[in-house]
Amino acid sequence: MFSLVNPDGTVRDRLPISIEETKSLYADMVESRVYDHKSMALQRQGRIATYAPFEGQEGAQIGAAAALRSDDWVAGTYRDAALMWKAGYPWDLMVLGRTGDERGGAPPEGVNVLPACLTVGGHMIHAVGLAWAEKLKGSDRIAFTSFGDGATSEGDFHEAMNFAAVYELPVVFFCQNNQFAISYPRSEQTRSQSIAAKAEGYGMPGVQVDGNDVIGVLTTVTEAVAGAREGEGPSFIEAITYRMGPHTTADDPDRYRDDTDAEDWAAKDPLLRVRLLLEKAGGWSPEWQAELESTAGERIEEAVATAEAVAEPTVGEMIGRVFAQPTDALLAQLAEAEE
């Protein structure tokens, strides 16, 4: 497993980025975690629907997104809010989506991030199609797709991996192995030694990286993206991480996993190790931490306020977005609904 920064903040190898860049990644992880905690609270207050927290996976998501170009395609899951945000999807639209509003599924112009995929696995194939289109157009955009360990048991995973390899498409497959598919552990999910090993069967490179090491992830994904952009075809990355929270706000992980595991993984927290690293380099102080958290808190509060200020959707919107132009039958049903 590739890694550059140990859990205690010591460095295994020379870092490819500066302290200032490291601080910036750290700030992004802090902001993501603030969003994650805020979303859990919003759900408990009944202000958003079911939420799938990503706490513990900030290193994998921020590190990966930092390796992408702003016009690359990103197709992730309902647990990828940090990844999507870092790639350009605004927090307020993600909150709006979670309040139950399709307008949250429409990213701003120029943001090539698909709304979070809510079925398991389908978006991996969409990424294949996005990459195919870019190849047809002769552009050098790549498609990056993120998914969990559980998704690798879906047929979609097999079809996407095989198709991307056969068509030699610029796709980076990024598995966040967070050890659990809801309650089903990684050890039961597959008898394969690793998930990365599966890549070989598709004729593409597969590597493992410490998903809680944001700089290690950045380095690994940067290399994969460069390969895809230079026409080397798809590749696969298994980022080993851990979901610190529940699958969603609707389940209780105490029923299916050991506390000791969570404690072990807490010591490997992706934020903690960067903080320790920065501390040693003189780049971290409690004041700076407080400032980061307060700035992030303000931004997230603003995003929530923006989302909550959006007017209720209309009946016309309910009918009008089914097709480019509503059919006569839909217009008749709209008239019925408006009566």
Binding site: P107, I125, V128, A131, A133, L136, R321, V322, D328
Partner: protein, 325 residues
């Protein structure tokens, strides 16, 4: 005009659109060098090259997922699913992804995508390769559904489907591939959502689709000649959007409606037509609304039983005759 077979019309319709729009691409199993297992894509690889006419691994979910991904970037795609029965293995992509993604992006993203597939029975392929599944597609909000019965309509509706900004499921009937018809030699573009009155009549309306259209026409000729019953035959052509105006106007004139479907009985498209006419034109009716369908069974492989199961000219003739007596 040129005389084309229905299968040649499929290729002609695709070729017409690929010539018009150089960004249009096609993919599917055995569509390139083999020209399709039903020979509906013969000549396309030669004319448009391997980047635009592309074979795929046996991965129906990936064929449609890739088509969807490409189409959302503005690259229009025609995807082939070899037999419509196989839509069942990629139904997640159709029903949950393709049909719903415009909606879930607040209308932001268009999916200019045509899913072509060989549908229907009477070709002795057995229960897993003979189904008429246009009713599956019809019941999913967000999909458009067409099923031509003639070579000319095949070209015209292919053009309309390709040019539509929304996903269209295009059902080609296996047992019509060898049939012939005149096709104009100029560019042909139809419209989705327009039924066609293929035979005028005054005593009863028969609404049919695909292979059932020629059977309904033959039955109508016999009813006229042998019984003096004047039957109006409507080729429904497009299930979504559905041309209820043409249907209701015809029933207003004839006061009787028969639907002829290959779908197994429960929830076939005819039930929807009957329901609309029952609600909208009840006071115009002179008798019961009648469905002529395949029984609710897996389609038998034996020729004799398959012929018995799928509505035949005789069954249409007898049903209309006895109902009007």
């Amino acid at each position: 005009m040129a005389e084309l077979t229905y299968r040649e019309a499929v290729a002609a319709g695709i070729a017409q659109e690929m010539r018009r729009d150089p960004s249009l691409v096609m993919l599917g199993e055995d569509v390139a060098a083999a020209g399709g297992v039903f020979k509906t894509t013969v000549g396309l690889l030669d004319e448009f090259g391997p980047d635009r006419v592309r074979d795929t691994p046996i991965s129906e979910q990936a064929i449609l997922g890739a088509a969807m991904g490409a189409s959302m970037t503005g690259v229009p795609v025609i995807a082939e699913i070899m037999f419509s029965d196989f839509l069942a293995v990629c139904w997640d992509m159709i029903a949950n992804e393709i049909a719903k993604s415009r909606y879930m992006t607040d209308g932001q993203v268009s999916f200019p995508l045509v899913i072509r597939t060989a549908n229907g029975g009477a070709a002795r392929f057995g229960a897993q390769h003979s189904q008429s599944v246009e009713n599956w597609a019809m019941m999913i909000p967000g999909l458009k559904v067409v099923a031509p019965s003639t070579p000319a309509d095949t070209v015209a509706l292919m053009a309309a489907a390709v040019r539509d900004p929304d996903p269209v499921i295009f059902f080609e009937h296996k047992s019509l591939f060898a049939t012939k018809g005149e096709v104009p030699e100029v560019e042909v573009v139809g419209r989705l959502g327009e039924a066609s009155i293929v035979r005028e009549g005054s005593d009863a309306t028969v609404a049919a689709l695909a292979l059932m259209v020629p059977r309904a026409l033959e039955a109508a000729d016999r009813l006229q000649q042998e019984e003096g019953i004047s039957v109006e035959v409507i080729d429904v052509r497009s299930l979504v959007p559905l041309d209820t105006k043409t249907l209701l106007a015809s029933v207003e004139k004839t006061s009787r409606l028969f639907t002829v479907e290959e779908n197994p009985r429960l929830c076939g498209w005819g039930a929807e037509l009957i329901s609309i006419v029952g609600e909208e034109a009840f006071w115009n009716l002179d008798g019961p609304l009648v469905r002529i369908t395949t029984p609710h069974i897996p389609l038998p492989a034996a020729a004799s039983l398959e012929d018995l199961a799928i509505p035949s000219v005789d069954r249409i003739y007898e049903t209309v005759k006895s109902s009007l007596r």
